[in-house]
Amino acid sequence: MEHLIIAPILIPAFAGMLLLLEVRERQPLRRLTGLVSALALIPVAVGLYLRAAGGDILVYQLGDWAAPFGIVLVLDKLSALMVLLTSLLALPALIYASRADDKRGANFHALFQLQLMGINGAFLTGDLFNLFVFFEVLLIASYGLALHGRGPARVKAGIHYVVLNLIGSALFLVALGLVYGTTGTLNMADFAVKVRELDGGALELARIAGLLMWVVFGLKAALFPLYFWLPATYANATAGVAALFAIMTKVGVYAIARVQGLAFLDGPLAGLGRDALWVLALLTLLLAAIGVLGARRLGEMVAYLVVMSVGTLMAGLSWGSPEATGAMLYYLIHSTLVCGGLFLLADLVARGRGKLGDQLVAGPAPAGRSGLAALFFLGAIAVIGLPPLSGFMGKVALLQTVPSPLYWLFLLGGGLLALVGMSRAGSTLFWRATGDGRARRLDRPRLAATVLLLSAAPALAIWGESVLEATVAAAAQWAQPGLYIEAVLGGGA
Amino acid sequence: MDQVVEFLVSAAILVGGVFALVGSIGLARLPDFYLRLHGPTKASTLGVGGTILASLLFFSWQERALQLQEVLIALFLFITAPVSAHMLAKAAMHRDLKRREDTRGRPWKQ
């Protein structure tokens, strides 16, 4: 039994608890604890990924109870990839927040760690109800983080975010009730096996359970018409938090991929809701692109870019082929890191512009204008999908594997709208500057964190083949639910 | 079961039920809040008391040993119920709730 599998959950969990124990509010100590944990997650995640890349699916039986009776963690290529991605995103986001933002409210570091715990748990768990629990962990932590700091807009957005997710949690429970009520199990693999044997009314209920899960995961992923909460929530969140949130929508995408890959690739419910997801994904893509164009703040624009990436990803996923899923995963990695970096960048810009913040109106140039402009240019190219950065590779991969004229039109057209929007934004912020603003230097650690995340774009382009090979391999494994089921139900029991 | 015990249990149940109901009837039909306050705090305590007595008898007989756990319910209720009534009375006086005109004495200003 490899205890390393549970480490991505336990490391931040214990870090969070220890942070809670530290009552004297010694910020340096808290920062250190948080950063050490975030740093430690990276080698752990790399190690896990390397284990998974070998091709075996590893199962960790909590409490030594065999599936489907106990809860299991499952490490396959897909979940390992997601955990690795999370760790890579988390460290720069935390570095950025640790400069000063963490002091703007209580318990920041503990919440951050427990958020990581929730995210990693959601990626690793092989049990549907446990997925619900980890969803709640990551949600409640994200509520706290989204509201970290102050300001009416943040609170208002926070209320929207919280209430919608509470409704979402209720729906998830209904879905879980149906899952258990029809198949008598909660283990994902077991569910996948038993759902294939259903018929009659039970099948009908299981179908609704699946569709409700799509709704719930779609809410997390921010699919149309469920994304409306996202722009305000993300745009108003503290930068480091917004950057971390770039992975949150991906949890939704992952959950859909996971459940779909296990239970709905074949059998009586094959392709469940795929058409609807496809349509919604395309609409999301389009509307988010329009949102990018119409955004009036940089943070809002980046938030819409996040939504746009979700549309792009979900369309790729709902196309259903392993190849498209492989391409989708590459794009997922790219968009998570780049959007995270852009959130940080938006904050750097806002900081340099005083009261104007990240509003897209002409004003004094931010401190370190040319450097920021260069970063913005880089990030914009990447996120729009222009060469030679990772966005281009990702889009080409998706276009190649999803040969649908409609998708091409939306993806390329959306890219064009984003191009127009981002070029306007960049022009307004960096070119139309009315004289140089405050001559303050850029904060180096903040800049470093931003650069770290944005450097994903060139890195994913240069080493694109290795990454794409990895994501394609993950998708290939994903497309063979039998392997997963065998590992969970066959092996350890 | 012994007829006598059964009779006693049944009687206790009925007594409890009747007093619970009477208390609630008081709550429902008495004309002002202060009067309504008497219904539940009195009758309900005996209502619960009756059922608890029934339960004591029943289980003690059943287990052939004294089963007094339920006494604790009564104990706790006797400790807490007057507080509820007291606090509600204070609330009513604070709000200067209407009382029946022929009420003698006056409530205190809060």
């Binding site: 809670l20 029809t182 008598g184 038993k194 209920l205 955004a295 127009v420 306007r424 070119w431 | -």
Partner: protein, 931 residues
């Protein structure tokens, strides 16, 4: 020799000038640092060039993303060589020119960097042997030209021009990408080599029309073909070296380069002829005519460029080999004379301070040397014999006569060509006459103008010399290059043709003569034409485009705001409507097909159920009376608890009951700061919508519940019933599941509780809230804050409640109870102390920060889980044993108890952290308000 390195050199070179600038290098050194890499590249090109002239194609490939079909594959054939020479050669001249053009205070380092980026991209476009790589470089040219056009970013025109160029060419680039992907789909490879060899396959493909249209979209936008030409004049806001480079020799030529490159793949069909010829002809005429009317020197050149690009395009469209060769020839010629003209225009701008031809007159007097150069180049542009422009234009005229595709309408082509020639001569004449003669300068910002610095003229001299050399001695100067480029374009043998000045008296010559005479005639009529032109409504593409974009952005914002209207309820309605839709579409009464026997319904259950229904409805109907609603919700909670009692779930009943109490406390704490009533706000329509959603979703869930309850199913739960005792050491199966089988869920659950408490603490910290100074009827609050009876009773209740907590906790593993319920009881008892005696009183008696309690609780649970590692078991593996003590007897010790203690502490800590801090709010308020 590695072609990849050749392409890489300018990119590497882009780093040098900024570095030099940072080192405060003088301007010349800066220019030299910029020139270094291109010069090196040009030198390195000599070797492979020799091979190309021997008729070979030099190829070179590195792997990049083979799974995408994207390889770093390069090829150097005649066509690529031609363009590489143009890109590098003219590039070097432009760097030299820019050394003098840019003023001292401009960021020359950055400028050169952008220029070199562009150069590298352009080099990449022309040498790519991989279609995706080609697109990649293609887009890079758009991006780097965006930076170059916007170089003077303080100018609005520059910013807008840059964005327009990027938008239009970017759109084309996306279309090209789509086209290329389709080609790849048809050919099965993105290798240019293979694609060029698969022309027949592509043309026969069902996708051919789509491919053609997409590729042409890319080409036309880049080469400013009608109707995508409008961005080019506005790109003239760029510094002149940029125009000289991008808009004469390179970027706009990328489009026609691609026409040449894809010629073997896509040309030869009627569709090709129709689309390409038509666009070319329209562009030729429109550009030529518009050029005449520009008063801006660079504007004239820009439209002239458009026109010449149209000419080249038209030639490619004609589908004859000779026309293609002519097109390639004209590419060379146009590059040389147009680059020199731009530079000359830049010199004039530089020396006079304006580009307005209405003010610039009679410069012959002031800068005769420059005038000569410019006049020669203009003559070449006009197609005057003995200059290079004449030769290719002659070939063009000849080719227009050969086409028969239009049947009876075939005369249109030569006519159009001649007409284009006429205007071309006219605007060239204007460039010469209006600038260098035509009286005296008017109000020049810089006066008097004089010749520019010596070396600023060198690039122009070189280019003009080339114009003359090619024009006079074509066979010696250009024929070799043209031959290899032409054959590479055609992808095979060259047709028979002769580059000579004199072909005898023939129709093309006649057309040339007509063009020259007609052009001069048109120019002499210019005053009348200008007045006519001024009567036409002015069209400013920049304004229109910017207006469109802004309107689009506004519409986008409006649409965004309509959907994302800031109303939580509309978001929630979308979510719930989606659920309702799922239920309406997929749920049918047929789902109730179970055969499970029903339980009898008794009166008590019926009445209790009715009570719940009534209370829930009261809550919904009377929700605006908030206190009433809170109480009716409590009734619902009570009935739910009773339901759990009735339906064999004692643990749930206990949990529900204790949670209920804490929730009411919480709500009452909150109510102090919230309005007592909700105003009536929803309209009938809104209420009906919400009712509909409620009925559908409520009904649907109820129906599903009934369907589930009435059908049998296979479940794993038998395992838990069987193993709770032997495996988990407890008889309360629910508890064993919670602390053992699914202890990980509980671990997560208490984490949620802990996080919620932390988040609440953070939310409450320095929250400014106005509390009500009087109750809902306006009466001041009662005096008695701590009623005696309440205070006194709360005291013994604390130890009693703790006793009960211990009892509930200890029995939990075997009977209903457990850490969670025990924790809640303890919390309530402690909260009662707060309610009865106040925060300060309580905090004098016990520590007020509950963070450590939560932490210790979570850690205890976590560490218990970790403990199993030391025994080689997974996280949270439990163990238990029966211990026998004298007197006490036998009792069980289970690690799960330790875990449950963690749960207990977390619950106590979290609940108190939440509620006590909420209670403390009013203290802050009191201090602030001094009430």
């Amino acid at each position: 020799m590695n072609l990849a390195i050749l392409v890489l050199l300018p990119f590497l070179g882009a780093a040098l000038p900024p570095l030099a600038e940072r080192l405060r290098a003088p301007r010349t050194a800066l220019a030299l640092s910029a020139a270094l890499m291109p010069a090196l590249a040009l030198a390195l090109l000599i070797g492979p060039a020799g091979q190309v002239f021997e008729g070979r194609t030099v190829q070179d490939a590195l792997s990049w993303m083979p799974s995408l079909g994207l390889t770093l594959a390069f090829r150097l054939d005649g066509l690529a060589l031609l363009f590489a020479l143009l890109v590098l050669g003219i590039g070097l001249l432009v760097i030299l020119y820019a050394r003098y053009y840019l003023s001292a205070n401009e960021k020359a380092g950055r400028f050169y960097a952008f220029l070199l980026l562009f150069m590298g991209a352009m080099l990449g476009v022309v040498t790519s042997d991989n279609l995706l790589l080609l697109v990649l470089f293609w887009e890079l040219t758009s991006l780097s030209s965006f930076l170059l056009i916007g170089f003077w970013s303080h100018q609005s025109a520059a910013r807008k021009g840059a964005r327009m160029a990027l938008t239009v060419t970017g759109m084309g680039g996306l279309a090209l990408l789509a086209g290329v992907l389709l080609i790849g789909q048809v050919v099965g490879s993105y290798s240019l080599d293979q694609a060029l060899a698969s022309g027949d396959l592509i043309r026969a493909s069902r996708l051919y029309p789509l491919i053609l249209v997409l590729v042409l979209l890319g080409i036309f936008t880049k080469s400013a073909q009608f109707p995508f030409h409008f961005w080019l004049p506005h790109a003239m806001a760029a510094p002149t070296p940029v125009s000289a480079y991008l808009h004469s020799a390179t970027m706009v030529k990328a489009g026609v380069f691609l026409l040449a490159r894809f010629y073997p793949m896509l040309a030869g069909t009627d569709l090709w002829f129709d689309l390409v010829t038509l666009a070319g002809m329209a562009t030729l005429l429109w550009g030529a005519a518009a050029a005449l009317f520009q008063h801006d020197l660079k504007g004239l050149l820009a439209y002239s460029t458009i026109s010449h690009l149209g000419l080249i395009t038209l030639l490619f469209g004609l589908n004859t080999e000779l026309a293609a060769v002519a097109a390639v020839f004209h590419i060379i010629n146009h590059a040389t004379f147009k680059a020199s003209l731009f530079m000359a225009a830049g010199i004039i701008d530089h020396e006079t301070g304006t580009r307005d031809m209405r003010r610039i007159n009679g410069l012959w007097k002031y800068m005769p040397y420059t005038a000569v150069l410019a006049m020669v180049a203009s003559a070449a542009m006009a197609g005057v014999p003995l200059l290079n422009g004449f030769l290719s234009k002659e070939m063009f005229f000849a080719e227009t006569l050969q086409s028969s595709r239009l049947g009876a309408m075939s005369w249109v082509l030569p006519l159009g060509a001649t007409l284009g020639g006429v205007f071309s001569v006219a605007y060239s004449a204007r460039f010469i006459h209006d600038v260098f003669f035509n009286g005296e300068p008017v109000n020049l910002p810089k006066f008097p103008p004089h010749e520019p610095p010596r070396y600023m003229k060198v690039p122009v001299e070189i280019l003009v010399a080339l114009c003359v050399a090619v024009g006079v001695l074509p066979a010696i100067t250009v024929s070799g290059l043209l031959a290899v480029a032409g054959s590479a374009t055609l992808g095979g043998e060259l047709p028979e043709y002769h580059l000579s000045i004199w072909h005898g008296f023939n129709v093309p010559l006649l057309m040339s003569v007509v063009a020259l005479v007609g052009g001069v005639a048109v120019y002499s009529l210019r005053r009348w034409l200008y007045t006519q032109y001024d009567r036409l409504p002015a069209i400013n593409a920049n304004l229109i485009f910017e207006g469109r974009v802004q309107a689009l952005a506004r519409a986008a914002t409006a649409l965004g705001n309509t959907l994302r209207n800031g109303s939580l309820q509309s978001y929630a309605a979308w979510l719930l409507a989606l659920v309702a839709l799922v239920l309406l579409v997929h749920l049918s009464p047929a789902a109730i097909d179970g055969t499970r026997g029903l339980l009898p319904l008794d009166g008590v259950a019926l009445l209790a159920g009715a009570m719940l229904v009534v209370a829930a409805l009261i809550t919904a109907v009377l929700h605006r009376h908030r206190m009433t609603a809170i109480m009716s919700v409590s009734v619902v909670g009570l009935v739910v608890s009773l339901t759990f009692v009735r339906l064999s779930a004692p643990d749930l009943a206990l949990t529900q009951l204790s949670v209920e109490v804490v929730t009411v406390l919480l709500l009452m704490l909150a109510m102090y700061f919230l309005p007592v009533r909700t105003r009536m706000e929803s309209g009938v329509l809104r209420v009906s919508r919400d009712l509909l959603l409620s009925v559908v979703i409520g009904g649907g869930v109820g129906l599903m519940a009934f369907a589930m309850m009435t059908s049998d199913f296979q479940t794993i739960s038998g395992y838990f019933l069987d193993n709770a005792k032997p495996g988990g050491g407890g008889t309360n199966v629910v508890n064993v599941i919670l602390v053992d089988f699914r202890g990980f869920d509980t671990f997560g659950e208490i984490t949620v509780l802990g996080i919620a408490a932390m988040g609440i603490y953070a939310l409450l910290r320095d929250l400014d809230l106005l509390s009500a100074r009087s109750d809902s009827v306006g009466r001041p609050w009662a005096r008695d804050a701590h009623p005696l009876v309440l205070v006194t009773i709360s005291r013994p209740l604390l130890p009693l409640a703790l006793l009960i907590s211990v009892y509930i906790f200890l029995r939990g593993h075997n009977l209903p109870g457990g850490g969670f319920i025990a924790g809640l009881i303890t919390s309530v008892a402690l909260l009662l102390q707060y309610v009865a005696s106040g925060v300060e009183w309580v905090h004098r008696r016990m520590p007020g920060d509950y963070h450590p309690v939560v932490a210790v609780g979570l850690l205890l649970a976590g560490v218990t889980g970790l403990g199993s590692w030391f025994f080689g078991h997974p996280f949270l593996t439990s163990t238990f044993d029966h211990v026998h003590w004298p007197l006490v007897g036998e009792f069980e010790l289970a690690s799960a108890m330790l875990f449950d203690t963690g749960v207990f502490l977390t619950v106590v800590g979290a609940t108190l952290l939440m509620l006590a801090n909420l209670g403390k709010l009013s203290l802050l308020d009191d201090k602030k308000g001094g009430a």
